[in-house]
Symmetry: C2
Subunit: 245 residues, 2 copies
DNA sequence: AGGCGATCATCTGTATACACTATAGTCATG
DNA sequence: CATGACTATAGTGTATACAGATGATCGCCT
């Protein structure tokens, strides 16, 4: 099939110049691509990922595909069984609950460490900006959809700044592990009531003050409670979805 | 080099029959082998693992070696950088501290879940056996070395039974992630004072009773305190080592 | 002499061919 | 008709060759 070879070369040439500063290597690009697809729910839960199909579909060989799949399995998005390949991890609701309880503990610890270790000027600015933007978004009356997307962004920014301030790779890994569920991607935040979001935004303010004031225990407790409230919302919406399915 | 090919065939033939029911595949075997080597500290911290050397040394091709390394990187034992390969993760003491605090929270959660979900008859038996053996080992006067190894085993058994009873893969992953540090392998328990071990064994008894009695909160608190006491011992011994180096 | 760039060795990244395993379907047999 | 072994096929496991990147060494130019 000489035509296929041509197609490959063309595609490579067209995709290499601009779009991926991140994916210096094909494996890295595939990992990112597949992770996003998994979080977006593009593969059915529990379904098997066929290496040959994927490599044809994405126009690379099996080697980088396998590498990417191994990485994603390491991250917990996939499960691997010898001689049977990779399947999309399907977490029962009970596991989602545990993940959020774990995440509450982990983020609480992160908040405490951030408080103990102090905020850099840059972190402080980022947090303050996230809070201010949140105030603005929630006070104005906007399209629900726009409001939601904007708030999801700064929510992400707020939390990851706290994690960074904790200065622990390990802790970061754990938090990310708890977030990496094919079901509960960040955009699930959408499903919430506006009142819930306002409440949580108030919690962000309190957490910020506790961290800034170096009150470790206070920061830890506030963050735990904050994440647990997110858990309640998620579980509520998942239960609704499961029930209606 | 035809001689080399012969050697390979011979070695494969001699190693396939008996020794590895676990390693159904070369990758799996390599993963296990390398993980053990890393936890045992056989590779210097921060050192780079050369795929070609490893594959020659272990008499396999690079392919399964790479697979194993990817898995271990996913587990956090190695770090991977594009085009630069895998290096043994070197955790500063502060990270070890965080890991143990995280693990205390995670194992606490596991203990609570185990209490809430109840113990199977088999789990109960395993725990009781671990406790009884611990009593025996600690009461008799034995060679320090033997005593230590025996206790390490049943300690492992006790904890992993609790994790299993929690019935959460996710939680298991987190706990294992916190244990997987090139420094702080299980056998570090060796370095401890006998008095510390006795104290911890008493804690095992208390935890068992709390779990058996379905007292979730109590179990969680006891387990947290238990793991934190291990942290103190580990940190003490690591600090001593770092100081003397 | 010192900085700078080309060249080369080394190692990782990828493609591909082949070997092995698992599974489903078929056929024969009780 | 049910059950068992056999075979065919699809898909993963591994080896190997080659391509691309990285880093060091050596020579050149200033």
């Amino acid at each position: 099939m000489p035509a296929e070879a041509d197609r490959k070369r063309l595609q490579r040439a067209s995709q290499s110049p601009a779009p991926e500063p991140q994916g210096s290597t094909r494996s890295a690009w595939l990992t990112e691509h597949l992770r996003q697809a998994l979080l977006d729910g593009k593969f059915p839960l529990g379904s098997r990922l066929n290496e040959v199909h994927l490599s044809h579909q994405l126009d690379v060989s099996r080697t980088p595909v396998r590498a990417a799949l191994h990485v994603l399995a390491g991250e917990g998005l996939l499960r691997y069984h010898a001689n049977k390949g990779f399947v999309v991890r399907d977490l029962p609701l009970s596991e989602v609950v545990v993940a959020y309880e774990m995440r509450a503990l982990a983020e609480g610890l992160a908040a405490r460490l951030a408080a103990e270790r102090g905020l850099s000027d840059e972190s402080r600015r980022t947090l303050e900006q996230a809070l201010a933007e949140g105030d603005a978004i929630l006070s104005r009356r906007l399209n629900r959809e726009v409001q939601r997307a904007a708030y999801a962004n700064l929510n992400e920014s707020f939390h990851s700044t706290i994690h960074a301030a904790a200065q622990s790779d390990l802790l970061n890994d754990v938090v990310r592990a708890c977030q990496r569920m094919p079901q509960a991607a960040a955009h699930n935040v959408m499903a919430f009531e506006l009142a819930d979001v306002r409440e949580r935004h108030k919690a962000h303010h309190q957490i910020y003050l506790a961290v800034l004031g170096r009150e470790g225990q206070q920061a830890e407790m506030l963050m735990r409670a904050h994440v647990l409230s997110v858990k309640s919302s998620i579980v509520r919406s998942l239960a609704r979805r499961d029930g209606s399915t």
